[in-house]
């Protein structure tokens, strides 16, 4: 601590006080979300499996479709009916699986919604806090 005391003086220059800062900051604070283990598991595994299947089928169909593009680039007629059927089946089953996924209970979505609601409603407040370092 500095001990620079002046009483009844005519001061002509700024008095430098090295220990002027207390180390207290005004910070922003928001209540944290208490994530339970079961909720963490739901986020990790709670997505309906049909979404993953829909994804796999969609990607395979895209690959197959690209093959057909290569094959039918010069003459579309060279693509057989069976190949068109396979492509359509891929697209349809991928969409169907995705829709089924939407209809199934999605626990992951519920937890994510709950977390989102928490952060929307939890007030943000600023408060002074002492630096711990």
């Amino acid at each position: 601590m500095t001990d620079k005391s002046l009483h009844g003086k005519e001061i002509t220059e700024t008095q430098i006080i090295p220990d002027l800062l207390t180390g207290t900051d005004i910070g922003t604070w928001q209540a944290e979300y208490l994530l339970r283990e079961v909720e963490f598991d739901r986020i990790k595994y709670g997505k309906p499996i049909t979404f993953i299947w829909a994804n796999s089928v969609a990607l395979t169909t895209v690959g197959f479709g690209l093959n057909l593009v290569a094959k039918g680039y010069s003459t579309v007629a060279s693509i057989s009916t069976g190949e068109w059927v396979a492509l359509s089946l891929g697209i349809i089953s991928s969409i169907a699986l995705y829709i089924i996924g939407l209809l199934l209970p999605n626990k992951r979505k519920k937890v994510m919604q709950k977390i989102e609601n928490h952060f929307e409603k939890a007030p943000t407040i600023r408060q002074a806090f002492k630096d711990q370092n």
Partner: protein
């Protein structure tokens, strides 16, 4: 940020400012941290106060918590009572200023510890860091207390 080189447009300093028994004349400031002026007290029907708090003491960043005597922060209250303008943080008085006449204002109470500055005082003296100041005078518009950064 309010600095020596950028003060608000509506800020007109008092010719005489008596801060905890120390008299600053000629439009001087109480305190500067580097170039930042945490407190400005300007002329007005009620005193116009600008107050900045340390947002990050490591980076020397300040945020304005009172602007032209209006609170900019939920934890800060500004109100006038029997001719004095008071600034409160968490129900503690941080600053109390009274106008004596058109050219003179008096800081009756000051406690900047909640906003990160080690300064407090009342009508008899001002304590800043480890030093106390009372009955001093400074003219020419200088800054009484500083922390060079």
């Amino acid at each position: 940020m309010i600095t020596r080189n950028s003060t608000p447009k509506n800020y007109i300093p008092f010719n005489t400012l008596i801060i905890c028994s120390n008299t600053l004349s000629g439009g001087g400031n109480l305190v500067a941290v580097g170039d930042v002026l945490p407190l400005l007290i300007g002329k007005g029907e009620i005193p116009k106060i600008w107050l900045q708090a340390l947002a990050d003491s490591k980076k020397n960043q300040f945020i304005t918590i009172v602007e032209e005597s209006i609170s900019k922060h939920p934890a800060v209250k500004v109100y006038e009572e029997s001719g004095s303008l008071n600034v409160l943080i968490s129900e503690e008085i941080v600053l109390s200023v009274k106008i004596l006449n058109q050219d003179t204002a008096v800081v009756e109470k000051l406690d900047f510890r909640p906003i990160g500055l080690n300064m407090h005082g009342d009508l008899s003296s001002l304590t800043a860091g480890g030093g106390t100041f009372s009955g001093n005078s400074m003219s020419g518009g200088g800054t009484l207390i500083g922390l060079g950064l």
